[in-house]
């Protein structure tokens, strides 16, 4: 009895000391700013040095809504992995760096991840220009593995750079025939003038023409244009059936509104937009985008048919309630997939050597993830996954079609 109580007191004293130690360390880290954003898990597990994972994403700036979704997802997955005992008996320590929607800030902060924090892996980057800016710092100069999570135009074929979001081919190859069947043959391709929309339209035009459709309007506007009445009237007078839009915010909202007010939807026109997800739905009134279609690797509606997706979505909503949503267009699903695939690859490799992990990652497969299973295509550094076509109804996306099995990224 006596012994027990003494033992208990001793245990509590130790844990209090450990708690104080951790708290001091943590407040020191925050106050002096030595860690970018240091989350050290499992203080009790300090014997094994943690595996260091860097997240470089846009926490501030124009696309902070996407970057924070990525960071939250990473926190959630890493916590999961640590709660299950870590990888190779070592916990994961997360280093989150802000790329600030600004490439020059990003390069400096990613360098810090590589050179100071000496991370074993970097995940992140939302826009292609950001990926371009930081990939050299990570892969070539930094000799570190890089996973890019966002849906994008494809064609990124750098060694040690793995892409876990859908490519254009995965998004469009089934979707364009669906649009022709469920919209019509006459297409308009209004686009913001930068790389991604150009790539979308080049790819879409081929698919449209191969499937018996035709492109009536293909136009490029400055990225910040917000007035589209001339475009809308061209779409209306040319009797366009499908508008495949790649105009981005801030122009997208006004464009959809003007299109709606001109009566495009009432006339039976079909609007489609490849980056729209749950996080973008609040830009417009529900009736303005009623019937908008998109094809992505995940929608919230998938939770009703896939148990793993439901579990992941519920967990995210519980841990991060608020306005930063877990959605496919932000790259959050790719972030989940990327971390899980990498976890398996490290377990298979048995160490953190870049060559070994990359070799294992090259054929990694996960059975469960947002939207279902996913697997890397060997030699291609891109990911096969399920794709879903959804249509906006009353401000929510409803699934109307799904791929028969995993879709090949057709990259590299």
């Amino acid at each position: 009895m006596c012994d027990q109580s003494a033992g208990g007191a001793k245990a509590s004293r130790v844990s209090r000391r450990r708690f104080l130690h951790s708290a001091a360390w943590m407040s020191g880290a925050v106050a002096t700013g030595v860690g970018s954003w240091v989350l050290q898990p499992r203080w009790s597990n300090a014997a094994a040095a943690p595996i260091r994972v860097g997240i470089a994403t846009d926490l501030t700036g124009a696309i902070a809504y996407a970057g924070n979704a990525n960071a939250n997802t990473a926190r959630m997955v890493v916590k999961d992995i640590n709660d299950a005992g870590g990888i190779l008996g070592r916990p994961i320590e997360l280093f989150i760096a802000d790329t600030a929607s600004d490439e020059s800030v990003a390069v400096a902060n990613v360098r810090r991840l590589i050179q100071r924090d000496k991370v074993d892996l970097v995940l992140g980057g939302i826009t292609s220009s950001m990926r371009n800016a930081i990939k050299d710092v990570i892969v070539t100069r930094g000799k570190t593995l890089y996973i890019y999570p966002e849906q994008y135009e494809g064609k990124e074929c750098t060694s040690y750079l793995f892409c876990t979001g859908p490519t254009l081919s995965q998004q469009c190859d089934q979707f364009i025939p669906w649009l022709i069947k469920n919209g019509g043959k006459r297409f308009a391709l209004p686009a913001a003038n930068y790389v991604f929309p150009r790539a979308v339209n080049e790819h879409a035009r081929k698919l449209i023409e191969n499937n018996g459709g035709e492109v009536i309007v293909e136009e490029y506007y400055p990225v910040d244009q917000i007035e589209y009445s001339a475009t809308v009237s061209r779409i209306m007078t040319n009797k366009v059936d499908v508008v495949l839009n790649t105009i981005i915010p801030p122009g997208a909202g006004p464009f959809f509104k003007q299109l709606y007010e001109a009566g495009f939807g009432r006339r039976g026109g079909r609007l489609a937009c490849l980056y729209y997800d749950e996080a973008s739905l609040n830009i417009n009134e529900p009736q303005e985008i009623e019937g908008m279609a998109n094809c992505l690797d995940y929608f919230r509606a998938v939770t009703s048919e896939d148990l793993a997706s439901e579990r992941i979505q519920a967990k995210y909503d519980r841990e991060f309630p608020g306005r930063i949503l877990f959605a496919a267009g932000t790259g959050a699903t790719g972030m989940y997939r990327g971390l899980k695939l990498w976890e398996l690859a490290v377990k298979e490799a048995g160490n953190l050597d870049r060559e070994h992990v990359a070799a294992a990652l090259d054929h990694a497969k996960i059975g469960e993830g947002p939207g279902g299973p996913a697997e890397m295509v060997p030699g291609k550094r891109h990911c096969k996954m399920n794709m879903y076509t959804a249509v906006a109804k009353d401000g929510k996306f409803e699934i109307v079609a799904r791929s028969a099995g995993l879709v090949d990224p057709m990259a590299c």
């Binding site: 501030t60 810090r112 292609s128 100069r141």
Partner: protein
């Protein structure tokens, strides 16, 4: 040695105390020693700041010494960056002996062209006209690069290989640091010589009262153009160094943000002193480095407030806190033979 003799000359001319040469030497010594004590990743960070210091120096030449308000230094900086990036991408030229002169020449040609357009009109242009002209140039270049696919559009040009010299590669870290420091020091010495020459004196006259100088037979606008071109070339040199250091170029490098940032750096440090803008860059960059780590979301606001206070309450910049106005104005050409100020008397008596 040079500093010691100039201090000697100063006391001859009746300066009570000269601060700027001491600052220059201390700063130079700190820069030389820095990579030895700093961790590599901080050295890389300071290298970037040194390159920006070169850009701030170019702004000081135009505003501090010629009275040309240029909101377009990033245009020369970015254009040279793109130029050397294309040399590296399409022609595989990475030799420092080619790319650095190329960057210098790109900056020079562009600034001569734009400067001639803005400055050599029938009537001398107003400060506002030149400020808006350079701002517009910077903005146009930014938009042009975004829509030009040969230049990579919005995505810029990634994966620029390291700069080389013969078989040697300037890796980021101490090697690139000392390369940058050497360039900065050389450029600084040249600028120091130019602004303290007779040409510099005439230019200071143009800056203070152009009409009067015109009566003395100087062609003020041409002299301004000469200085604007030199500054453009220095900005180009900085752009070349920046492109190889960061390993990529992108449209923002040409744009209004960097142009204005450099103006703020220079104003904070103190224009018209050469050393001031370098101090300004270091202070702001180091502050952002520290603050962005501990308070990432508010640091831009803190930074903005700091600059606002500096400009409101210390219009001569940080350098104005330590160096007297007399010293900031300085003197030109050959040292005068006799003391010009009566307050030199105690010194003379002591001598």
């Amino acid at each position: 040695m040079a500093a010691a003799s100039s201090i000697g000359a100063g006391s001859l001319r009746g300066y009570q105390r000269r601060v700027i040469p001491i600052l220059e030497i201390v700063l130079f010594a700190v820069f030389v020693a820095a990579p030895v004590v700093l961790q590599d990743y901080i050295t890389v960070f300071v290298t970037r700041a040194l390159i920006l210091a070169l850009l701030a120096l170019s702004f000081d030449l135009v505003w501090g010494y010629s009275g040309i308000m240029s909101f377009g230094q990033a245009l020369f900086f970015g254009a040279a960056g793109y130029g050397v990036a294309l040399l590296a991408r399409d022609l595989q030229i990475t030799s420092a002996f080619i790319v650095l002169p190329a960057a210098f020449v790109i900056g020079l040609i562009l600034s001569v062209a734009i400067g001639a357009f803005l400055l050599l009109g029938r009537h001398p242009p107003t400060t506002i006209f030149v400020a808006l002209g350079t701002l517009a140039g910077s903005y146009v270049a930014d938009r042009l690069a975004r829509d030009w696919y040969y230049l990579g559009g919005q995505n810029g040009i990634p994966s620029i290989p390291p700069m080389t010299a013969g078989g040697y590669e300037f890796a980021e870290g101490p090697a690139y640091y000392y390369l940058t420091l050497t360039v900065l020091t050389l450029v600084y010495l040249v600028c120091r010589f130019v602004v303290r020459s007779q040409f510099g004196l005439a230019l200071a006259g143009v800056r203070e009262h152009e009409a009067r100088i015109a009566f003395l037979g100087y062609e003020g606008q041409r002299m301004k153009l000469a200085m604007f071109s030199l500054a453009g070339a220095v900005a180009g040199l900085a752009g070349g160094l920046y492109a190889f250091h960061e390993g990529f170029v992108w449209p923002n490098m040409l744009g209004v943000v960097i142009s204005t940032q450099i103006v703020l750096y220079a104003l904070l440090g103190g224009v018209g002193t050469l050393i001031g803008p370098i101090i300004g860059v270091m202070v702001v960059e180091i502050a952002s480095f520290a603050l962005s780590d501990s308070v990432p979301k508010v640091w831009p606001i803190v930074l903005g407030l700091l600059l606002l206070f500096a400009i409101q309450f210390a219009p001569t910049g940080l350098i104005g806190l330590v160096a007297s106005e007399r010293e900031r104005v300085g003197d030109f050409g050959r040292p005068p033979l006799r003391p010009r100020h009566t307050d030199a008397a105690p010194d003379d008596a002591a001598a």
